[in-house]
């Protein structure tokens, strides 16, 4: 495996980590005002992700930084091309981030409700837009010979990308609802279970639709990409299995299954792209690949050493955080926020 492939894989891993971790905290954020009726309940919901959401978000910052370092042209074309969606996403993340910190700092109901809906919107918008972005990556966007995106904003809002967006949105909500099943008790847990049973099947339908649409509308599975093999099947299968575990009341297993679904869906998308990182819809020759978009072998080597040293350490202490906060949030829990 050459360094370019290694870095493509590493970025895929960063996105898998990001979607699994931030996926459930987006889901929890969306469910917050819907499941939490009283202030105490909403604070309990926030507490399930309070200690970890910021660390989870660093996964995407790292993915962005790694893309910049390893594939500068990918970073440049993607970020300048998907300009307004990224602006919306950043705005949403700003509101969401401060909302967690600010919402309990004032007693007025209107204050708290405003920030709660800020968390809702700030979670919903990126949960949707990540799917839209990945859908567009797979389908291809107008990129000219100079690696410059030439489409506009509305180019990105095509039916295929919207299906992908609804898939990521519903998958994250399901993932978050199952997480809440694991982390709460009593009435909240009952409501989380009800939400899981409503959103789970919808997510399954959208993943199925996405796989079909990918066969019909893109060359992802037939073109240059690596055949993802069983990955898309496993994504759908794991989600169906998650449904079975939910009905059996085995929430830990159900959560593992939604993790598998997210990982497999991400692997499907990245392996279908490989060795391309952005597909040009104008001319296949103009697509960005892990070779024509990359940094020099020297930089990739330096970054490989850094990543191989740092990533295991990060995984260890983040894992430890989840261990420390493994307990359910209950009516007796002392709430910091």
């Amino acid at each position: 495996m050459d360094l370019n492939t290694l870095w493509f894989a590493l970025i895929a891993i960063l996105f898998i980590g990001f979607f699994i971790l931030e996926g459930f905290d987006y889901g929890v954020g969306i469910l917050l005002p819907l499941l939490g009726r009283t202030d105490r309940q909403r604070r309990e919901i926030i507490h399930t992700i309070g200690p970890v959401w910021d660390g989870n978000e660093v996964w995407v910052i790292t993915a962005g930084g790694a893309t910049f370092a390893a594939f500068p042209h990918w970073y440049a074309t993607l970020f300048s091309g998907f300009y307004l969606p990224l602006f919306l996403m950043v705005t949403a993340l700003i509101v969401r981030g401060v909302a967690f910190e600010f919402r309990s700092k004032d007693r007025r109901p209107i204050w708290r409700a405003t920030w709660d809906w800020g968390i809702f919107a700030g979670s919903l918008v990126p949960a949707l837009l990540w799917g839209v972005a990945l859908g567009n990556l797979l389908m291809g966007v107008p990129i000219d010979a100079s690696k410059t995106y030439t489409g506009g904003f509305f180019n990105l809002l095509n039916p295929y990308a919207l299906v992908a967006g609804l898939m990521s949105l519903t998958a994250f909500v399901t993932h978050g609802a199952i997480f809440l099943n694991l982390k709460t008790e009593g009435m909240l847990r009952e409501r989380a279970l009800r939400a899981t049973k409503i959103v789970g099947p919808i997510a399954t339908v959208f993943i199925g639709l996405f796989v079909i649409a990918t066969y019909l509308w893109t060359d992802a599975f037939s073109g240059l990409g690596v055949d993802p093999g069983l990955a898309p099947v496993a994504a759908v299968g794991a989600l169906l299995a998650a449904g079975g575990f939910v009905r059996a009341g085995r929430m830990g297993w159900a959560f593992s299954m939604t993790c598998v679904t997210i990982a497999m869906a991400t692997i499907t998308i990245f392996s279908a792209l490989y060795p391309r990182v952005m597909v040009s819809s104008l001319n296949p020759e103009w697509s960005l690949t892990i070779y024509n978009a990359s940094s020099t072998p020297y930089t990739l080597k330096v970054m490989s050493v850094v990543a191989l040293v740092c990533v295991p350490v990060v995984l260890a202490y983040q894992g430890w955080t989840y261990w420390v906060f493994r307990h359910r949030v209950t009516a007796d829990t002392h709430l910091e926020y």
């Binding site: 507490h47 660390g55 962005g64 705005t91 981030g97 401060v98 740092c310």
Partner: protein, 465 residues
């Protein structure tokens, strides 16, 4: 409006705004960690309550620093795609390392610290806040490695039409970062010192609510005074070294900072100059003979090159074009930074004198002056960054790429304008909210802050089940 101007405004606004919050994070974390250590060692409850008080203000500020940092990470690609293509091979590395090494550390351990008061053993909980301190200050190093590359490119070759890294060690040990990083860190500590000092002075003047508050704010006053003053002295000393370094590697920035049109030997230092930039001459000026030579070379003689001579040299080396930065901006932001720094030194030294003689609570009307002095470091920090970034113009990477060459061709004027207005409005609203919260919690003092555990007003207690 052209896209370059709009993209530059966007970078300026979002970066200066981001840097309202960063220095306080970098500097105040040491105070919080120090107080918690004092609690751990002595077991005195006062220190725990002080940790909680300053910690709460730290967190409100920290959240703003984190979220506005997202924009920074994204906007190189969004607005400056050609810059990103040109430097990505070099510049991306420190950004990625910053995230891997520092952001993970600070955000993960902050979560542990914040929610771990009752879950973690005291010693482990204390270690968490120190790791946050290390992580956040480490992130400053890596982002300044990136910025130093823009000021003085090191560790690269130009190949295939872009800058390619060929010496990682040279990149991360850029001599520029060794003057810039300590200056920024010391400035951040001074910011935190004056923040602590100003709030403590406000409480002491108004009369603390109870004995605990009185003791807490007397102690905080002393901490703020000493911390802030030592830090501002360090900032000025390092700043002096940085200026001497700048004379060597970015002489044009220094010439513009002094509105020095002609090379002088010995060179006079301008105290006040009103110049005509188009004519390249002074209209009115007050100057101290020889002082600029002294600042540049530590003796009252020695050449300091002027804008005209440098312009000729650069035009010969880089081809035709204008190579001096906007002189008015550079000249005045430099003076605002230095002036605010000197005012901080005066205020800090005076506060130290008061507190070390144990007179702090008595001098009420003088205490009142320390409250608005909290604004001084913010003025100095912002002016300093505007100075160093505008002073590098017309370059985005000194000597390698011009700013006009860096913008994204894929982004239309309307799009940049949309995001510029969007960010500005959002940032404006958030500033109001942040100032409101900081004010409320700063004024509430210890232990009487609004309790988040309380139900919101109007909600019946019975509904909380």
């Amino acid at each position: 409006m052209d896209p370059v101007t709009l993209a530059r405004w966007q970078f300026g606004i979002t970066t200066v705004y981001h840097f309202f919050f960063v220095p306080l994070t970098l500097g105040l974390i040491w105070v919080v960690a120090g107080l918690q250590t004092a609690w751990y060692v002595t077991g005195r409850d006062l220190y725990r309550r002080m940790t909680k008080f300053w910690g709460k203000l730290f967190l409100i500020n920290f959240a703003m620093g984190v979220v506005t940092g997202l924009v920074q990470e994204f906007q190189f690609g969004m607005n400056w795609s050609e810059y990103s293509r040109f430097v990505g091979d070099v510049f991306g590395a420190p950004l990625a390392i910053e995230a891997l090494l520092a952001f993970f550390l600070e955000s993960t351990f902050l979560g542990l610290w914040l929610f771990g008061w009752e879950r973690l053993p005291k010693k482990v909980h204390l270690a968490c806040i120190w790791l946050v301190a290390v992580g956040s200050n480490l992130s400053a190093y890596w982002i300044l490695v990136a910025n130093s590359f823009m000021q003085q490119p090191m560790g690269h070759v130009i190949n295939n039409g872009r800058a390619e890294m060929n010496d990682f060690l040279a990149l991360v040990t850029n001599p520029h970062v060794f003057v810039q990083f300590p200056h920024v860190i010391a400035g951040a500590m001074a910011t935190a010192g004056f923040f602590v000092l100003g709030i403590s002075a406000w409480h002491l003047r108004r009369g603390p609510a109870d004995d605990v508050n009185r003791e807490a704010f007397r102690l905080s006053f002393r901490i703020g005074a000493i911390y802030g003053t030592v830090a501002i002295v360090a900032t000025m000393v390092i700043g002096h070294a940085q200026a001497q370094y700048m004379v060597k590697v970015q002489p044009m920035k220094m010439a513009a900072a002094e509105a020095l049109w002609e090379t002088e030997n010995p060179a006079a230092m301008s105290l006040f100059t009103w110049g005509d930039e188009a004519q390249q001459r002074d209209v009115f000026a007050i100057k101290v003979p020889g002082l600029l030579s002294f600042l540049a070379h530590n003796r009252f003689e020695g050449e300091v090159r002027g804008i005209r001579q440098l312009q000729q040299e650069y035009a010969a080396r880089y081809g035709p074009g204008q190579y001096w930065p906007p002189v008015k901006w550079t000249y005045w932001t430099f003076r605002i930074m230095v002036g605010a720094g000197m005012a901080m030194f005066a205020a800090g030294a005076w506060a130290c004198w008061l507190t070390l003689r144990g007179r702090a609570p008595a001098a009420a009307w003088l205490l009142a002056l320390l409250v608005p002095a909290t604004a001084l470091p913010y003025i100095a920090n912002s002016a300093g960054w505007i100075f160093t970034e505008i002073g590098r113009q017309p370059w985005i990477v000194f000597g390698l790429q011009k700013t006009v060459e860096g913008v994204s061709p894929a982004v239309s004027v309307g799009e940049v304008l949309t995001t510029l207005i969007g960010y500005t409005l959002l940032y404006g609203v958030l500033m109001v909210v942040t100032v409101y919260l900081l004010r409320t919690y700063a004024m509430a003092g210890l232990g009487v802050e609004p309790d988040p555990a309380a139900a919101p007003a109007g909600e019946p207690v019975a509904a909380r089940a």
